[in-house]
Symmetry: C2
Subunit: 299 residues, 2 copies
């Protein structure tokens, strides 16, 4: 069996299988970040994301945007847990023939995001590599009461999404603002039952919430905010790298949220969590269609 046929998510379950973790780990593999006991009122969050040239970016996009993206995807992961990022370490692989200016630009991009979100860049590793590789690990924290996992969606919850979906390959995937401010507003003021960031596409990532929460969902096609850059609805919900937040709250909290949302960032109620498993789209013609929660395939 080769990896391409096994798929990323089967690989992840193989990795996690039979692993014993200490009692200090609240959540290990299988969410946007690991959750570790810390103080009486807070947890540590720990995660990493690797970007590779010609897969997640082109060299011609320039070092600055690449560095910016590398840290932003990590900030997005921490935001999706309801927490704040605090420290990062950067592993960088670059060819010896690359101009030093290009590497300076990568770090300028990383530092711009670090400054914006008050993250300390505290260490790293640099190696020689033919293709550019950037892997950033982030350490953050979250107040216990604010932690948002993938696994606590409840029947009847309203499903919301920030921003709009699809077509991020036209440029947005390199130059987006992670929804940290929005996530913190949410967890500080509302009971968020489940949250994830859209990195593999809405269907795939909502699919993770459904799987971890052992629930189903109905999504209304007419309610999903499709970006002008997207080809159509069906690609918008399957494209990856939107880095928007998908989350669920009770109906009561949802009603309050719609009234209180203070940001220019769009907020859309796109569907509901259901007791019975399965992901369904209610098409614009009211027809209900079962759909597979698949998106960007890593292998």
């Amino acid at each position: 069996m080769i990896l391409r046929n096994l798929g990323e998510f089967n690989l992840i379950s193989r990795i996690s299988k039979g692993m014993k973790l200490s009692g200090k780990v609240i959540k290990g593999i299988g969410d946007d970040a690991a959750v570790i006991k810390h103080t009486k009122n807070s947890y540590l969050l720990f995660s990493c994301d690797m970007l590779l040239e010609d897969r997640h970016f082109k060299r011609s996009s320039g070092g600055y945007l690449i560095g910016k993206k590398a840290l932003s995807v990590n900030v997005s992961d921490i935001a999706a847990m309801g927490g704040v990022p605090e420290y990062c370490v950067v592993s960088l692989g670059v060819p010896g023939s690359l101009r030093a200016k290009y590497v300076d630009d990568i770090y300028k991009g990383i530092k711009a995001v670090a400054r914006k979100f008050k993250i300390d860049l505290v260490g790293g590793d640099t190696i020689s590599s033919k293709k550019i590789i950037i892997d950033i690990a982030v350490l953050g924290k979250v107040e216990k009461k604010n932690l948002a996992l993938r696994s606590d969606a409840r029947p009847g919850d309203w499903i919301f999404i920030t921003g709009s979906l699809g077509g991020s390959l036209k440029g947005r995937h390199l130059d987006f603002t992670p929804r940290l401010k929005e996530a913190r507003f949410l967890v500080n003021n509302f009971k968020v039952n489940a949250m994830i960031d859209v990195s593999d596409g809405l269907l795939a990532d909502l699919g993770h919430i459904l799987e971890e929460s052992k629930k189903g969902a109905d999504i209304y096609e007419r309610c999903v905010p499709v970006s002008r850059d997207a080809k159509d609805f069906d690609s918008a919900v399957r494209d990856g790298e939107d880095f928007e937040l998908v989350f669920t709250v009770s109906k009561r909290e949802g009603g309050r949220l719609i009234k209180k949302w203070p940001f220019k960032t769009r907020l859309s109620r796109i569907g509901e969590i259901c007791r019975d498993k399965g992901l369904y789209i209610i098409r614009e013609n009211e027809k209900k269609e079962k759909i597979r929660p698949v998106g960007y395939r890593h292998f």
Copy 2:
């Protein structure tokens, strides 16, 4: 200016230059791990190390040894700070055509080291990549009184090294035991002034201690333990990937240490820290020779 001409350490100073860190960072870029405020009596340690196929390992060595090495180099970094590793996240790049069994073996290697040193594997990222890439970030802790930096070597300190040096490419670089037990014995029982692990070669890594401590050193050729796998003394002190500990303690502590060392692992007193800068070798014929602290070049 291209990277190969700039060199890794000039690159690192360019990265660190003009960076403002929060007051919670005790030590940022420039030691084996970052040191971050934690509890009243302890610090967090945070570091990462990236390994790349055909640079740090061959695919033909098999997944198990590669996974083992990937976590062991990180354990070695935490040991060199005087601390203990607690959690890790693993970013893995592998070709879609690779057999799933090979990836299982990588994780078996990682988990074997994790089990031995009681580290929780709590998360990661997997991407598709032509060459195998493994980047592990580790979170650890150290009691404040046990922290060993590179920067506190004092004139008159004795310089010690564990194990023997050189020729690790013959196999030891893939299958070594990080000196965590030895490091913990040292910091728990002695005042260690400076410590580093040998990843770029003794001269280069001792050179980091000298630079950060603004001191010099005399090394006695006849006292340096050269491995049977090494070509000769000069290559043994320049070869990388020994993953032994080099550390300095006062003369008084050094005398006590030699009497109390309880391990089979060899311990050698190889020289002294001097007030005046410069690294000197006292050759077997008693001639004193100034030597440049250079070792493995990453670019």
